[in-house]
């Protein structure tokens, strides 16, 4: 890939180098390499991370960043690892088999730093990390429908997936009436039902009081 050289920061190891070394000890674990990253199967994440942590050549002692990207047919989970002594970074990726359910092994038993980052990815991207000790939503409340960082969560203009038409928790039978100046002046801020009779009565009464 011609772009690879441009995109790699100076401390980041080439995926080709990492892939070659890994394949010598763990044959057929790496499914793809580019100049930037190596890719492995989602059920072999613990194996590869533990190997990279233990190996003298890579010494990947810290999970610097863990995040995920929605690729429409699958979700790609990205691990940025680094060695503090050797001062280099390397990138490991994995892809889930499909979107629902999207399952990946949890990295928590190798890196404690995965605890909150995996909860964040689960919350926003809907990836289930198998073996995570406490997989709950991090930012959103329990019962929130869907995972908002997925591309099909809401129809965003100019994107490939048109997505849903509205927020999934809105009740379609009860349209929210827009606030108009009349209501605001009369002291009625929000009107949630379409029952106009009741509203006009309330408006009149508040005007009477005013």
């Amino acid at each position: 890939m011609a772009l690879g050289k441009l995109m790699r920061t100076s401390k980041q190891l080439s995926g080709v180098t990492v892939g070659d070394s890994v394949s010598k000890s763990l044959p057929d674990i790496v499914t793809a390499v580019t100049d930037e990253w190596i890719e492995v199967a989602p059920d072999r994440i613990i194996e590869i991370l533990q190997w990279l942590l233990d190996s003298d050549e890579f010494d990947a002692v810290q999970l610097s960043n863990l995040t995920a990207v929605d690729r429409h047919t699958h979700i790609e989970v990205v691990y940025h690892l680094q060695s503090l002594d050797l001062n280099h970074q390397l990138v490991v990726k994995t892809r889930t088999n499909g979107m629902d359910p999207a399952v990946v092994q949890s990295a928590y038993q190798v890196y404690k730093g995965a605890l909150l980052q995996e909860r964040e990815v689960y919350d926003l991207m809907g990836v289930r990390f198998e073996g995570h000790p406490d997989l709950r939503r991090l930012f959103l409340w329990d019962g929130f429908p869907g995972h908002p960082l997925r591309k099909d969560f809401l129809g965003m203009p100019g994107r490939i997936n048109s997505g849903l038409e509205g927020f999934p928790f809105e009740d379609k039978d009860k349209p929210i009436r827009p606030i108009n100046q009349e209501n605001v002046e009369a002291g009625v801020a929000y009107v949630v039902t379409g029952e106009t009779d009741e509203i006009s009565a309330e408006t009149e009464s508040s005007e009477d009081r005013g």
Binding site: K11, L84, N87, F153
Partner: protein, 367 residues
């Protein structure tokens, strides 16, 4: 263990002065000891990462102000550098020096705030905090002079900085860096010899170096445990490779060491600013870039050292004017990975001080 009291649940926050924002802790207590601890965040979640996917790279810079709102300059800089690396934009030399000066001023302001609130948590209510605020005010005045804003600066741009500082900026900065070392000495005298402060912080909230590395801690939280890891030295960005400064590390990894690391970094920041002031060349402060910058297809993870640790930006470009995926690696959130282990079996008052020493900003945790 036999207990003489019934365990009970205590709710701390979301509105509580020692949680530094809308951060909530749910603790199970046995007398004064914490048996279990759970953090509940998300009260300030504004879905920045989703919103960023619909805005151009330049339009996303103001979001980074509002993520870590106590260190807006370094947030701005992190994104600017990430996009420059992704799109291959050159930055003029003068802009690089201005970036270093403003990041270091921001680091002083942020560390002053962090240490001030930590002392506040330890029981010295308000007075020492306002000592710390004294210098922070002068720094914010300098920001206001340059870009019109004090907190949400929106100053760094892709390809440089927004404005060249006005002529009156330089004498004011000179005056500040001349008096700062004396002021920091004053804090030292006030605090470091204080018996109560030492009792509250020494040997409290100890994080071993192995745990700190394994739990992805960065910044003063990692350096306090004795790991000399500072991205300004180990992965230099901007013109930090031309600056002479030391990486400060602690020994025992307790609250006191994290406090002292921040305190000593104030001197190092002053040192860097002085060097940048003497080296800064004249010339342009910005290169012109297209209004809707379209980087090639690809992705990058770019990181810099913010006052709280490694602030990283993972950007995926699909060749369009806005990022396909925008992820902010928030040091405030990830530094909390060990909170449960640190809090368990500690006294509540120690857990509060430990949380204060990790220096969280809820805007960055929740994004």
């Amino acid at each position: 263990m036999t207990t003489s009291t019934e365990p009970y649940v205590l709710n701390i926050g979301p509105q509580h002065p020692s949680t530094h924002g809308v951060f909530r802790l749910r603790v199970v207590m046995d007398g004064e000891k914490i048996k279990d601890l759970d953090m509940i965040v998300g009260y300030l979640h504004r879905s920045m990462e989703k919103l960023a996917e619909e805005r151009t790279f330049t339009q996303n810079i103001p979001f980074t102000d509002r993520a870590d709102y106590l260190a807006a300059m370094t947030g701005n800089l992190g994104l600017a550098i990430a996009v420059e690396r992704l799109a291959g934009v050159e930055v003029p030399d003068r802009a690089e020096y201005l970036r270093v000066i403003f990041s270091e001023l921001q680091r002083i302001a942020s560390h002053a705030m962090a240490n001030g609130t930590l002392i506040s948590d330890a029981g010295a209510w308000q007075t020492p905090l306002l000592y710390m605020f004294r210098e922070r005010e002068k720094i914010l005045d300098l920001f206001e002079m340059t870009c019109g804003a004090r907190l949400t600066t929106n100053y760094m741009r892709i390809g440089g900085v927004a404005f060249d500082p006005p002529p009156e900026f330089w004498p004011a900065l000179q005056e500040l860096v001349d008096e700062l070392p004396d002021r920091i000495d004053e804090y030292h005298e006030l605090l470091v010899s204080n018996e109560v402060f030492l009792a509250r912080t020494r040997g409290v909230g100890i994080i071993s170096a192995e745990d700190a590395v394994n739990a992805s801690l960065t910044g003063p939280a990692l350096r306090g445990s004795g790991v000399p890891w500072d991205l300004r030295k180990t992965d230099p960005y901007s013109v930090y490779d031309r600056m002479d400064f030391d990486v400060v590390v602690g020994k025992s990894g307790d609250v006191y060491d994290r406090f002292m690391v921040r305190m000593s970094e104030l001197y190092q920041s002053v040192k860097i600013i002085k060097q940048a002031m003497s080296q800064i060349p004249s010339g342009a402060h910005k290169t012109d870039i297209p209004l809707a910058l379209r980087p090639d297809v690809g992705e990058i993870y770019s990181r810099i050292e913010s006052p709280r640790g490694e602030i990283g930006f993972f950007l995926v470009s699909d060749g369009g004017p806005s990022p396909y995926r925008f992820h902010l690696r928030a040091p405030s959130l990830i530094n909390l990975s060990l909170l449960n282990e640190l809090g368990r079996d500690a006294a509540l008052s120690d857990a509060i001080v430990t949380l204060g020493s990790l220096d969280i900003v809820v805007g960055e945790i929740d994004r």
